[in-house]
Amino acid sequence: MLGAAGVTDPAARHSDALLACVAVSKQFGDVQVLFDVSIALHAGEVHALIGENGAGKSTLMKILSGYLPPTGGEIVFDGAARQFSSSEAAEDAGIVLIHQEFNLAEQLTVEANIFLGREIKRGLFLDVKTMRARAQALLAALETKIDPTARVQDLAVPDKQMVEIAKALARDARVLILDEPTAVLTPKESLVLFRQIARLKAQGVAILYTSHKLDEVSAISDKITVLRDGRHVITAPAADLTEHDMARQMVGRDLSELFPPKLPPMVAETVLEVAGLSVPGYVTDASFHLRRGEILGFAGLVGSGRTELMEGLMGLRPSEGAVSVMGKPVHIRSAADAARLGLAYLTEDRKGRGLLLRSRMRPNLTLLALDRFSRILIDEAAEDRALDQAIREFDIRAPSRTVAVGNLSGGNQQKLLLAKTMLIEPEIVIIDEPTRGIDIGTKQQIYGFVQRLAAAGKSVIVISSEMAEVIGLSHRVMVMRLGRITGELEGEAIGEESIVRYAMGLDSMTKDHRAEDRLHAAR
């Protein structure tokens, strides 16, 4: 259905672009992050913007949608140079941005968020009935079952993203800009989104889209622009770029195979044994074990309770069940208990649970491992050394060491979070969505890092909604469904189809439920 809109030659329509920026640059303090970037968006066209973490994608999108003023260059909208004084002005013109970071008022209901600032009124009063009905309709179109009267703070991360998308759809956009909308979505939900994008495109909406999932990019976009270090590298029809090309343009060199070959798992003792763990309301009776040097994947659909299981295990949620670490039964009542036993957990919610956005990198990095840096007083020099090392080891690209973490690009925040978690040198590390928002080059580094950890005798649990990641990394995979562990796969048996079978429940396993097929169908 997407193909119906057709793709025209981009060069021919450059002049009649709906929204364009010409030679735009942007400086934060002394640091320039965009250099003379030009890009043109056309009605009825999906334009993808790709680049490494910190390349300036989000910044460019914010400039296009009036959230940030450019420090140079101009914005052309509808054929005329426009200076949007604020995001309101841009939104009034029909330019809508879905932020990379959540942009929802947590204490308000889903419906209130969707219509925030654009409430429908009857007389003086809100027309709650109409808004609720429309919200319901929008959410239904997105194939989610989110209750419009639920408070956003009670939603899971992917559901929040769907609300965010619904909010944007409610605003009658002429230009829709989406900043990594699928980073927190599973393939199934992504497909729903892509159908909406196709619908809007057919209606003549111009769409700018960014993602680190290059398969998606080549599946849905008509045109692709690559940014590297704040500079425009290339704009080309999607058909002309393979995923491999994209990656090379982004990184500036050829990338080797994404997943390094798996090392055979050591034949070693069990370091973690979980029996009958339940997290009331989320997980029932989960049992599994983890061996030294092993990478254990956890797969499942959104809402299958993987996060809650691990949070229960880590003492971050009330849970019951038997846990033993290194053969000794333990009671983990808090993250501190877990840390003492050598367990670390990297949260999937880096903004809400992972990082202090207003603080700098240094206090964030050492927060979890602070006792390693202090007798009575904190050794700030040692902290600085740790930061140096983290920046090197995880390739964190920050404009300066003193920048507030909230001003780092999303991917670099994720790297910092990873560095923070690893700083306690855990024996067992649980990584929830490790590469969320990470560019393809860095992904590779992270995979390599995980494998080195395992090779060094540490044990790793990887929760991921990216099937390829679970398959490519894990020695063994546990699959969850509806809060229960429904399957275990090992070695050769690990494969997309087998995982999906367990994740969906065997009986509902039919061909067109398969994520990969959907992706192709969308194209």
């Binding site: 939104e91 008022a105 204490q107 925030l116 989610t144 079952k145 989110i146 639920a150 309301g281 809060g483």
Partner: protein, 340 residues
């Protein structure tokens, strides 16, 4: 609710037992505390439930009540106003002076009172504008601004009264008295005004964009800004509303004793904030409910009333009983919520 994919669990509602029940108990928390207090009062003194006593308590609640409705909006949007008590004293003082000054010329009549009222309301709004502009334009913490204006208003009224008491002209007082002591259909006028303000406030909070914007700003200012809400304007409006409501409270206060002095309205700000929080609004902003505030105000008034209706161990310990009851009233809500 249509389910798009039967293989997925219900997304929004966690599968735990009875989310509805939990919600209701959270909602009913302050009400429960109120009911317990009423039962306590009734068991301690037979006159507690007499219509006269109930009318007294409610009428007295009306001043801080009306102010607290305003405070609900201020706090919901993440602000604070410490100046309300002194502002009330100041407005009352000016109103009295204006009316007294007009009487020689215009005689005693409704017109003079109306002018006095109008002056009070306008001045209240202006005071709110002052607070609001210092906070939004000046970018100064609301705590500091309103601590400052609290001192300023209090000083001004002391200065105007020359350290003493400003008293309303005795003849005007007679004409104005019904505004506090009068009843309509057996209900004291201040209670009616309070009820009106509360109902309008609840409607505004729950059913108007303004109310929503207040919670959005209190919940996350940046999100509000990104959602095309004029954050500064809404925030300013909450302080203006607060100022106007302080003036409304003053309109009812003046006819009660016909005087204003440096002791008028002392600690009303604490009472108002406490009522707002007891009612379930969060001090950090983002969520507010006016009806809860109303119950909070009545709870606080009842505590005083009950202490006056019984012989406690020693009047020196009044404050201690108040403190304990306030904490218990809130603890009750919390633990109910936790165990349900």
């Amino acid at each position: 609710m249509p389910r798009a994919d039967p293989s997925l669990p219900a997304a929004a509602n966690p599968p735990g037992r009875g989310p509805k029940l939990r919600l209701n108990l959270h909602l009913l928390g302050p009400l429960l505390a109120l009911i317990l207090l009423v039962v306590l009062g009734a068991s301690l003194n037979g006159n507690f439930l007499s219509p006269a006593n109930i009318a007294n308590v409610l009428a007295r609640s009306s001043f801080t009540g009306i102010i607290a409705v305003g405070a609900t909006f201020v706090i919901t949007s993440g602000g604070l106003d410490l100046s309300v008590g002194s502002m009330a004293a100041f407005l009352a003082g000016v109103m009295i002076m204006v009316i007294n000054a007009l009487v020689p010329q215009f005689g005693v009549g409704f017109g003079v009172i109306a002018i006095g009222m109008a002056v009070g309301l306008v001045l209240g709004a202006l005071a709110g504008v002052g607070n609001g502009l210092l906070i939004t334009r000046g970018r100064i913490e609301a705590f500091i601004v309103t601590l400052g204006t609290m001192g300023i208003f209090r000083s001004l009224v002391t200065f105007l009264a020359n350290g003493g008491t400003l008293s309303l002209n005795f003849d005007v007082m007679d004409a104005y008295r019904p505004a506090y002591y009068g009843t309509v259909a057996g209900i004291p006028v201040p209670v009616i005004v309070f009820a009106l303000v509360a109902i309008l406030g609840e409607l505004a909070m729950r059913r108007t964009p303004f109310g929503r914007h207040c919670s959005a700003i209190g919940s996350n200012e940046q999100v509000a800004r990104y959602s095309a809400i004029h954050v500064d304007r809404v925030r300013l409006l909450t302080y203006v509303l607060q100022g106007v409501l302080v003036a409304v409270a003053t309109l009812l206060y003046v006819p009660r004793l016909g005087s204003a002095s440096s002791t008028t309205g002392v600690l009303w700000e604490l009472e108002a904030i406490a009522a707002v929080i007891i009612g379930g609004t969060t001090l950090r902003g983002g969520y507010g409910r006016v009806w809860g505030t109303v119950i909070g105000v009545v709870i606080l008034s009842l505590i005083d009333n009950i202490l006056n209706l019984t012989n406690v161990v020693s009047p020196y310990l009044n404050g201690a009983f108040q403190g304990v009851i306030i904490i218990l009233a809130v603890l009750l809500q919390r633990s109910r919520r936790a165990t349900s």
